[in-house]
Each structure stands twice: as C-alpha cells, then as structure tokens.
Symmetry: C2
C-alpha cells in the first residue's frame, strides 16, 4: 500500500485498512468494489480519471466515480458494440468511433482487415493515454496505424462531416454531463448525414431494467431517422442491472451474411451470440416493438 | 418508519436515517439496496428470513442476508427455470420442485393445464408462508389445488422416490449451508432415479462469471448421469454478475416442439428467448462444451 496517494481520491474509502470504491450514481443502489491499488488518479479538463486494480474485476477505468470498463468484462461490451455493426455492413472501410476512450472498440474494429481507416473521436486525451498505458487488457495497447486519434468534441466533429463513414460507433458514457448531447435527436440526425448511403450506426442505449425511458427515446429517435433499426442486448456484469442495450440505425436492410468472417480471438461474441442478441425478452418487446 | 423493530436485523444498517441492506457474501464485492421498510424479519429453524420493501426492486425475499428474489426481477429467474424444461417435455403431468420457497416456480408451472400434480418440497415452511402473504408479486399468492406443499429435506425426499416425476426443478439457493448437498453427484443420481423414463430435470447452476467452477462441476455431474444435457442462461439483475446459468439433464432428446403453447402472460420468456437462451457466449463454449 506504499503506492497510495496521501489524499484518497473522492469515491474511495479506506475501511479498516481496506480500500473500497463505491458507485453511487443511483440514489438507492450502491455497488462497492474492494480495491488492491490505485494505479492512476487525476483530474482531466473534463472529468476525474482513475485506473484502479480491483480484486474481483481486475483493472478498471473509473470516470467521475463511475466504472466504465474492466479487465474482466470490458470485452463483452466492446465486442458487442463493434462486431455486431461490422458484421452487418457489406464492406466497412471507414469507421468512426465517438467516445470509446478505453480503446477497446477500436481494438475490435482493427481485427477486420477490410477496414482501412478508424477515426477515434474522444474528448478526453487523458482517458486514452491512461488506458493505453495501464489498462492493456481492454485497450490491447492499441498501436494499429489505421487508427487516427482526434481529441475533440464528438458533437461538433460530426456536424462537419457528410457522406463520409461506413460505420459509426457511438461508445458514450451515461447520458449525464458531457455525454448528454450524444443521446439527442439532433446528434443522431448529424450521424445520419455523416454516414455514406449504405452506412449504419450503433450506440449503447443503456439498461432496459433501469433506463427503459432512455432506450425508448433513443430507439424512437433512430427509428424516425433511419429506414432500418434494431435493438440488441448483452449482459455486462459491472453495469447496474447486468442487461445492457444497443441500438442500430441503418440506411440499408439489416441482414447477416453467412460468408462474413468473425474474428477467431473473441471472448464473448460468436456466430451464436450474433443470432441470439436480437431476440428480446417479452417486457422489452412489449414496450419497444 | 414507525413499523421498524427496535433492534435492526443483522445485514441492515441505518445510515443517517436511511436503511440499507448490504449483501456481502462475496469477500470483495458489496451491493447495497436502500430499504423503505422491513415487512417481516424472523429466525426460522434453518435461516434468518426477511421480506424487505426496497426502493429499486420492490419487495425482496432475503435469506441469511442474501437476496433470493424480488418483485422487479423474480419473474426472470422463475420463468426461466420453469418454462424451459416444461417446453421440452412432451407431456408433463407430475412435476416436483425442490426448494423454490418463494412459490414463483410453482406459479409458473401451474400455468400449464396439462400438469396434474405439483409437489413442492421446501425445507423451510416460514419462507413459503411469508412469500404467500407478503411477496405476492412473485408468489402470486399461490392457491392452486394441484400444488401440494411438503416441508421436508429435498435430499432425503428424493431418495424415497423412483420413476415418479416427469419434470424435476431444483430451485436451490447458493451451494453453501443447507443447499450444498443439492449440488452433489449423489443427489443428481437420486434425481435421475426419481424421474420417469422420459423425464428431465433442471437446476440453477450459478454465475458463469463468478462461479464457473460450480457450473462446470454441475454440468459434468449431470452430463455423466443423463444421456442428454444442455446449459442455458438468463440475465437476473439482482444476482451478482447478472448472467445466470441453468443446466438441464434429460432422459429423452431435447427438442422444442413448435406446437407446444407458451403461456401468454409471461414477462420475460417468449418463443424468441426460448431459442436464444441456449446460444452461449464464447468464453462459456470454450470452457464447457
């Protein structure tokens, strides 16, 4: 414990010699993770950034006290937000990722040889740098020359591009603070404009258990803009409620090609998961379809 | 807060006038739920039994401080442990439930008109009584005359029956304390014997994230005893890790009949979920199949 800073970051408490991170963004639910070590802790211009080493989930990226991704389950989210849209696109050459500072989505996209350019637009350079250095289980210490990092506001960036991308992945944090605009109708309409004529987008659309309102609104917005849309789910253990939703908007009909190769080194997604993730539980069908 | 007992039960703390239940059965992960009210709290001969009213999950059954089921997500677990095996059996007439004191599984089984007898073998009568009275969102205040309650030890009960049941549902708590024997090879071999020649069983087999060892051992035991076995999953928000597994052992080939009717009043399971729940993520396939 010699590496501990003299003053503990907010969100972390020392209880009888044990360090605990408590997530309390929900008013009536707190999840506490026992921490081995604080690897990195600093305030960026945008948020408080930590890399923690936890007992149950390995290393974690924590922004403003909220876990974003971990060594143990980060791949579930990152594989699902990347491979599903890429499997739908007939020939993804130019991919834009908005957010995704942990680099996990870019790492998954880079597994497709046909992809020529990956533009990563992340507002917070500190997040990318610490994930590349300290969270390599998730980031893979990404150094693929096809990835171009742009540290700027995704909302402003998207307005300046039209008919440019094959696939756009919106890998945002929760719709509070800086990420709020990434859930707006105006933003999605700019995403539509930035896509090529056969392009498609995906976004994380929150927990169907706790934020059905956000999922409903996101799906309604995307469904209004795009001729084709669909919702899929995955189970992400460190996200409250476990069940997580993603929404796709597409300019072309959504059909999975049997001939499209899935990278062989995935840990969660496979051809079976690709088929099952669109089969929604009854309460979601009733409220959404 | 006038209804509060003078002395708070263990597991519940009063923090600045707010009541919080903290689940800490895992050493390095604590989940805390804010509680509106303690509806029931008493020690049975087997365990400490509580019904709590929580802010995020409604009423909860809590045994020895561990949440077993809630108003908000209890149906997910209960529908999945009941409808999946019943959909596989060509003609389920006599069903045994071991455990399942919240009555939710019995409630789901009772939705099948072809079922003639439902034997509920639960060791703790207090659990059944308080769930029938105080947790009706889960129990449905079950009063179906086909359900026969037997308050006895499932391990002893199963030894005394041979060639008796079409479907056996093992709805146990975690494999610690009284439920430990319900995960043993000897117990499953007695379950095999208690099933008719075309019978099948299902058990909950814990979290693939945190207890892959339990799932592996359970699957190995069942796979050794039964000619046909399979694993399926569901997402249960109040179980640590979210993703939960179930294992089926069957004396007959497992095939879903298109003609078999699914009850129309389910909230989670439907024909789509029935097909997708057997499609396992890659890490489970690699370790189990």
């Amino acid at each position: 414990m010699n590496s501990l800073p003299k003053q503990l970051p907010p969100y972390i408490k020392n209880e009888n010699g044990e360090l605990w991170l408590t997530e309390d963004e929900r008013e009536n639910l707190k999840i506490s993770y026992r921490i081995k070590d604080i690897i990195f802790s600093d305030q960026s211009p945008f948020q408080h950034v930590m890399i923690l080493d936890s007992y149950d989930f390995g290393r974690m990226l924590v922004l403003d006290g909220v876990i974003q991704t971990t060594s143990i389950d980060g791949h579930i989210y990152n594989e699902m937000i990347s491979h599903v849209p890429l499997q739908f696109h007939p020939s993804p050459k130019k991919v834009l990722i908005i957010g995704g500072g942990d680099c996990g989505a870019a790492r998954e996209v880079a597994k497709y040889k046909e992809v020529e350019e990956i533009h990563m637009v992340e507002i917070d350079e500190m997040v990318v740098n610490v994930c590349k250095e300290h969270l390599t289980d998730v980031s893979g210490n990404l150094s693929d020359p096809r990835v171009k990092f742009m540290y700027t506001d995704g909302v402003a960036f998207i307005k300046e591009h039209a008919n440019t991308y094959d696939v756009i992945i919106i890998d945002s944090s929760d719709p509070v603070g800086p990420a709020k605009e990434l859930f707006s109708y105006e933003f999605y309409s700019n995403v539509y404009r930035a896509l090529k004529d056969d392009g498609l987008m995906v976004c994380q659309s929150q927990s169907p258990i706790f934020h059905m309102d956000v999922l409903k609104q996101t799906h309604a917005n995307i469904n209004k803009l795009f001729p084709y849309s669909t919702i899929y789910t995955a189970t992400v253990p460190t996200y409250p409620g476990g069940l997580w939703s993603f929404t796709i908007g597409s300019k072309i009909p959504l059909s999975l090609s049997e001939s499209k190769l899935m990278p062989t080194d995935t840990k969660y997604v496979n051809a079976d998961v690709l088929k099952q993730c669109f089969q929604l539980p009854q309460f979601m069908k009733q409220q959404l379809l």
